[in-house]
Symmetry: C2
Subunit: 281 residues, 2 copies
């Protein structure tokens, strides 16, 4: 089954478009976990166990594992394996992008060595930096290409105007074009786009440009996006997007709070409920 179809089905089955970000910041872990790579695995496993019934997909952010060197790479590998064993799809946020022969090595690293289901990709190098990742979309893998990111200075490059259109709109058209070959039975392509929760107007324009592309919407919670802000990322049926929350779920407590497990579950449940209210309201 294609990645887009797997994701579509999982979102429907679990009635949840929430994606939980696994961005380990050990200094914020509950005090029973060590502040190292082993603590990362222990905490992630607990979080996965707590949220696996509530979400379809988790998103480890590669940077927070890389910061711990080779042991961080092992922690990343174990996290991916544990999430998959628990029936979750795994989307890695790594924003890779390079010339063709190098992009091929990145695709091999994530899709083969680590066995993730999907990856975020940066489009600064254009099609031949993206193509090696697309080739895996014909199998069961997916990509989310950066189009309009959630950060304040995303405007520096992405909002430049060219031939009457913004760069993010031009990128949206390219992503739509690149994804056409990889549309599954769900009518969605395994080539998706990253569209930040902090830019609802831009998301509205991009939804029209990319009707058949899944959106990964980061920026809910800590970055300021609300459930209402992400509405334009969805189509009228309330499908076509997943919404990521990291700090809002995995850091919603203080390190010495013994009730942290309950709080994680409550935060995830609340996000799912808010998002469903918005999607189907």
């Amino acid at each position: 089954m294609s990645f887009a179809d797997s994701l579509f089905d999982a979102v429907k089955r679990k009635n949840s478009c929430l994606c939980v970000g696994l961005d380990p910041r050990p200094e914020n872990f509950p005090k029973e976990f060590s502040r190292d790579a082993e603590g990362i695995v222990g905490f992630n496993k607990e979080v996965i166990g707590l949220v696996k019934g509530l979400v379809s997909i988790v998103k480890p952010q590669s940077a927070f594992y890389e910061a711990f060197g080779p042991r961080g790479a092992t922690a990343f590998q174990e996290t991916v394996a544990y999430a998959k064993k628990n029936g979750l799809l795994v989307l890695v946020d790594a924003k890779r992008g390079d010339i063709g022969s190098t992009a091929k090595a990145y695709a091999k690293a994530f899709f083969e060595t680590y066995g993730v289901d999907a990856l975020t990709v940066s489009p600064y190098l254009g099609l031949d930096g993206v193509k090696p990742f697309l080739e895996y979309c014909g199998e069961d893998k997916g990509v989310f290409i950066l189009v309009k990111t959630s950060n304040p200075s995303s405007s520096d490059l992405q909002d430049l105007e060219s031939q009457g259109r913004k760069v993010y709109e031009i990128m949206g058209s390219l992503v739509n074009e690149w994804g056409k070959e990889y549309v599954g039975e769900s009518c969605f392509s395994s080539v998706g786009a990253v569209v930040g929760a902090t830019y609802p107007k831009e998301a509205e324009a991009l939804r029209k440009i990319m009707p058949a592309n899944f959106f990964l919407v980061p920026g809910l919670g800590a970055q300021g996006g609300t459930a209402e802000d992400v509405k334009p990322a969805f189509n009228r049926g309330g499908t076509g997007a997943i919404v990521n929350s990291s700090r809002g779920i995995t850091q919603c407590f203080s390190p010495d709070d013994s009730e942290w497990r309950v709080k994680v579950v409550e935060a995830a449940k609340k996000s799912v409920k808010d998002l469903n209210g918005m999607r189907f309201g």
Copy 2:
């Protein structure tokens, strides 16, 4: 000493602007090395030993290590340490770029955990995705921001025209601006730019836009760039750029060639000579 000053001095002292790319493709290693992470370290150490008198800087490409998972991360770490022990500067080609809090984790990973001297950075997210890397440029670290990359479809995004200028020219102006704070005694900034050898005309325009920024010029050899093609990346004094060759040095032989060491040294010497002829000719 700032990164730019260290690099400037090393290029002058060794009379060499060549950067050797350490992009391990084990299938092409001499037959005495194993086709795994251990083979990578063994081969890299030999190459470093062979070229250390001929170059100032080496550039491991992160993707080729990541493809080997956690053991690849260890191979990367050992390669960086060995190059530094041998007096070389280490520039990692990783093209990272993310929102501020995540970019900070990447900067920590490369500059602190692995201890590299410089890193390539992707600018798709704008200033706040670059800033956490810039902060290390006030110490002894450097960055090279993607401006005009060497691959054929770099035109997809980088050649779009906005307000009468190409996107790569606009990026060049931003890099120049971002780098002003980090200009050292050499009159070069530790904030540099990636400008592909395959686009000499674009390099000429960018040299004027970024007079005080070091250029990292990839694309010599296997990608089609010649010593003459990279001339516009240098200023009139023949300084301000380093030129990378990967496959042309580390894959200039067949795996069963017992004379491979001699060929690596000859290939590096020839590149240095050709580049010096062009720089000072």
